[in-house]
Structures are given as structure tokens and as C-alpha cells.
């Protein structure tokens, strides 16, 4: 027994038109300041106006949103009284929107305790729409919420199946303005979701196909989208890839690349997609020694290698690194300019926090503390994980 959870998904050019037919009185758009300045909030407002829905905006979401931020957002929601919450942005804005929605409906809940084991009883006051403006996070279709504990410099993997959006609007025009670096970083996030969703121990028949398709779309379209941001065909395929990968891993699980990436992000402020994409090949190589089957199978299905076993898995890792190089992303921590002394000084925290990150539970091969430390060292130096 398991579940497959998904919002209604409206996708492709013109998907924003779906807003025109909504019924409601007030919407609270949860977003960040730059998206207001870029005019993306105005685009949504135009459609809300057509629906006769009054728009309010909470634009205080920062990258890697904190518990404090979502509490502030929830106060705004309680003040405005919306019947729609709209998460507009990348993963940070959409995750914040999910958490703000939960707190709006359930002010008694501690956001750091939003978990998949309790019944929340949402949708008494409002429903949730997600509109991604990047192509990678998949947060538009997942129930995961990542918030940051700013005091402990730690990302918290939270969420509940109930807090999946009611509607995801996946319109490529909303991601058309991404600069190349953001396109590259978020695209690697989508690839990491696809690979980890396919290879984690919680994968299912229903999630597998989505992950394979997403990985193929990323390999084929990410370099084109990075090289030429005006290539709307590539943009649209990447936008779809991110949603497919979100559905895939969101109904399975992520794995160690996310555990490591969360910690790199919270301690050294590395953008999420860049961090998980950098860690992914090392974690594939680590799994290749004792649990290569799913990785080799994915390599085979994608036409990367028919070698099978450890060789097949390592070929997949090599292909991920090749993609990173092609789109200008780092393949090791040194390339990000983080000093060795600073890295080594935080190594124990990196290992401890990665080990207790919620994403480790479904790893194909679970590392020991010592092995996790070696993985972080390999990721720093760029040495293949061969143990």
C-alpha cells in the first residue's frame, strides 16, 4: 500500500489562463521581492482580476525561507482572510506558501513540526495554487516543505500529504526570464530529483516512469535552455521535466545528494540546485559499490551505458558530471571557492546534519558516519567516491 498524490496540473503555454475561471473572493500571493519587480506578480494579478478575485501580496520570502518568515506570512494571511493562497516563485516561495497555508488553517501548529504522520484538516479556509517561475524544484507538485532553522543553520525537511497544492500552473512563460546560471542550477535540481526518485528504496511503478522521462528531458534540453534562454521549446521541456521529476520523487523520496546538498546550502549558502547537483555523482558512485542495480538500469534506459552493475552506475555518475561541466556548474566544492579551512572546520556539522536529514531514510546505500565524511571530502576535492 502506498499513495500517489498530485495537484490538478495545468501546463504549457497559456496555462495561466486557468486562473480566469477560479471562484473566490481574495487571494494571497506568496512570493519574493524580485518577482514583484520583474512583473510576474502583475501577470498573475491580471488573471485574478478577470476572475474577480482581490489580490494581496506577501513578498517577504527570502531564499531558504525561515520559520520566522512563514510565521509573518501566516499573520498576513490571518489578517487578509484569503480563500486562495498562491505560491509564486521558485521552491522557496512555494514551500513558504505551503507552510503559510498550514499555519493559516492551523495556527496551533509549530511550523517546525509539520509532519507526514498527523492529520492536518486543511482546506477549511483556503486552497493552494502553485506557479513555478523556475524549472527545477518541483515544489509545485510535491508536499515537501523545506524551511531553515536560522539559529542552527539547518534545513528542515517537513510536510504532509494534505499540503500538496490543489492546482499547479506550469506555464513556461513564467520561467522565460531566468538567467543562465539559475537555469543551470535549477535544472540540476530537477535531474537530482529524477535520479534519486528512481533509485531510492521508496520508488514505485507509478513514480518510475515520471523520473525516467524527467531525466531524459533534462539531459536533452538543459544545455539548450542554458545556452539560449530565448529557446522557448527547450524552456517548456525543462519546465515539464521539473514537474515530472517533482511528481516522481515527491511520490517516492529523494536521497543522500539532497541530505548533503541541504547542509551545504544551509552552512555555506550554496544555491539548492547547485548543491544537490554537485553531490549527486558522488552519491551515485557510493551506491555503485553495493547497490548499483537501479542506477545501472537508469543508465541503460537513458542510453548512457549498457554495462550494467557498478560500471553502469558509474557511467551515470560520469554523465551527470559531463552535464554539469557543459552548463558551467561546479563538479566539486573547491570550484565554488569555499576555503578548505572553512570546510574542514564545519565538517563534523556537515556530517551530523546530513546524517539526520529526513532525506536519508530511503537511500539505496546508507552510509556510516565515516562514509558520509568521506563523501563530503570527495565532494570537496573532486575525487570519485570509490569506497
Amino acid at each position: 500500500m502506498w499513495y500517489f498524490v498530485s495537484p490538478q496540473i495545468v501546463f504549457g503555454a497559456g496555462a495561466l489562463d486557468a486562473i480566469d475561471g477560479l471562484k473566490g473572493r481574495r487571494a494571497l500571493v506568496v512570493t519574493d521581492g524580485p518577482l514583484v519587480e520583474l512583473g510576474l506578480v502583475d501577470r498573475v494579478k491580471a488573471h485574478l482580476d478577470k476572475a474577480g478575485i482581490e489580490m494581496h501580496v506577501f513578498d517577504g520570502v527570502e531564499p531558504d525561507p525561515s520559520v520566522r518568515t512563514v510565521r509573518r506570512g501566516a499573520e498576513v494571511a490571518l489578517d487578509v482572510g484569503p480563500d486562495w493562497i498562491v505560491g509564486l516563485g521558485g521552491g522557496s516561495a512555494m514551500d513558504a506558501a505551503k507552510a503559510i497555508w498550514v499555519l493559516y488553517e492551523r495556527p496551533d501548529i509549530d511550523p517546525a513540526a509539520i509532519n507526514p504522520f498527523d492529520d492536518l484538516g486543511l482546506r477549511q479556509k483556503a486552497r493552494l495554487i502553485t506557479i513555478p517561475t523556475t524549472s527545477g524544484t518541483g515544489a509545485e507538485v510535491t508536499w515537501a516543505i523545506v524551511l531553515t532553522d536560522t539559529e542552527e543553520q539547518r534545513k528542515m525537511g517537513l510536510g504532509n500529504r494534505e499540503n500538496v497544492a490543489d492546482m499547479a500552473i506550469v506555464d513556461p512563460v513564467m520561467a522565460a526570464g531566468m538567467p543562465p546560471q539559475l537555469t543551470a542550477d535549477t535544472g540540476l535540481d530537477a535531474l537530482t530529483h529524477a535520479v534519486e526518485g528512481y533509485t531510492c528504496t521508496w520508488h514505485t511503478d507509478l513514480s518510475d516512469g515520471l523520473c525516467v522521462r524527467a531525466a531524459r528531458l533534462v539531459f536533452e534540453n538543459l544545455p539548450r535552455a542554458v545556452a539560449d534562454g530565448s529557446n522557448m521549446a527547450a524552456r517548456e521541456r525543462m519546465h515539464n521535466a521539473a514537474t515530472c521529476a517533482g511528481l516522481g520523487f515527491g511520490n517516492a523520496m529523494a536521497a543522500i545528494a539532497h541530505s548533503m546538498g541541504h547542509v551545504l546550502g544551509s552552512v555555506f549558502h550554496v544555491p539548492h540546485g547547485r548543491a544537490v547537483g554537485l553531490c549527486l555523482p558522488y552519491t551515485i558512485e557510493f551506491a555503485a559499490r553495493t547497490a548499483p542495480e537501479r542506477f545501472a538500469e537508469l543508465a541503460s534506459v537513458l542510453g548512457i551505458s549498457q554495462a550494467g552493475g557498478e560500471a553502469g552506475a558509474r557511467a551515470l555518475a560520469a554523465r551527470v558530471r559531463d552535464l554539469s561541466r557543459e552548463i558551467g556548474d561546479p563538479t566539486c566544492v573547491t570550484e565554488m571557492g569555499i576555503a578548505r579551512e572553512a570546510y574542514e572546520a564545519r565538517l563534523e556539522k556537515l556530517v551530523d546534519d546530513a546524517f539526520n536529514d529526513t532525506q536519508v531514510v530511503a537511500a539505496a546505500r546508507m552510509p556510516s558516519f565515516e562514509e558520509m565524511e568521506r563523501l563530503f571530502v570527495c565532494a570537496y576535492d573532486g575525487d570519485p567516491a570509490d569506497f
Partner: protein, 136 residues
């Protein structure tokens, strides 16, 4: 020799295995909170059982089978049927997935639990190391 589940011997063995686990000690180094595992009757087991496991800063501070749930103070209580516990111990049911499917019901500070995923996984790993007799 296989130890009967649920029993006083079984939960004491789990406590000893945890105390021998360097991995558990590190992953739970700041953990504070005792558990009671409630084994609820089902078609294969006809009475309730209560297993207490004291846990503090990476060590087990005590383990015992109780007469009732109220006999000892515990910050966390996990309830499941005998069959569900058996699946967890035999490695056929991931306990996190079990909780998401409501086959295992956890009561306690969720914020705390979510911070110690690796420790929880280590406890389950130790359960799987115990030669267990589930009866006929």
C-alpha cells in the same frame, strides 16, 4: 537463541545493542526522551503489550516490559499491531513509511523526531539484529 517478541528479554536486548552501537550514540547524541512501544492485539496476537525503552544522549538508560502504559513516564509512544511490529522488525515495513500509512501511530514531539531521523533508523537496524521468535 531467538527471543520472544514482545518480551522483557527482547526489549532489554535492544537496549544492549543500542548501547553497543557507535552509530546510534553519535546520531542520537543530544536525544532526550523515553519511548513506550505499544503492541496492540490483532488476529495473530491476542493481548496488548508495552515495551519501555529509556533513551538519553545516545545511550539506552533502561528497558523493560511493562504491565501498563502508565507504569513509566515516556515522552514518545508508538502504537502498532503485533503484525505491523513484526513487519518492521523483519525489515518488511519501513517504519517511516509505516507511520505515513498510519500503520504505526506516533505520539510525542514531532519536531524532535524529525531532527533525529538517523537515530530512529539505527534503532530499527538494531531491532533487525535480534533473533526474534514471533510465535506460531
Amino acid at each position: 537463541m531467538a527471543l520472544k517478541f514482545p518480551s522483557d528479554e527482547w526489549i532489554k536486548e535492544l537496549g544492549q545493542l543500542l548501547n553497543a552501537s557507535a552509530s546510534y550514540e553519535r546520531s542520537a547524541k543530544n536525544w532526550e526522551g523515553n519511548f513506550i512501544f505499544v503492541c496492540e492485539p490483532d488476529e495473530t496476537y491476542d493481548s496488548a503489550a508495552y515495551l519501555f525503552l529509556g533513551l538519553y544522549h545516545g545511550k539506552s538508560t533502561g528497558a523493560a516490559m511493562l504491565e501498563s502504559e502508565d507504569e513509566r513516564e515516556a515522552q514518545f509512544v508508538i502504537r502498532a499491531t503485533f503484525s505491523a511490529w513484526r513487519q518492521v522488525i523483519e525489515g518488511k515495513l519501513d517504519p517511516i513509511q509505516g507511520m505515513m500509512m498510519r500503520k504505526l501511530k506516533l505520539k510525542g514531539d514531532m519536531k524532535m523526531i524529525l531532527r533525529y531521523v538517523a537515530a530512529a533508523k539505527e534503532i530499527v537496524s538494531c531491532c533487525a539484529l535480534i533473533p526474534t521468535d514471533f510465535g506460531s
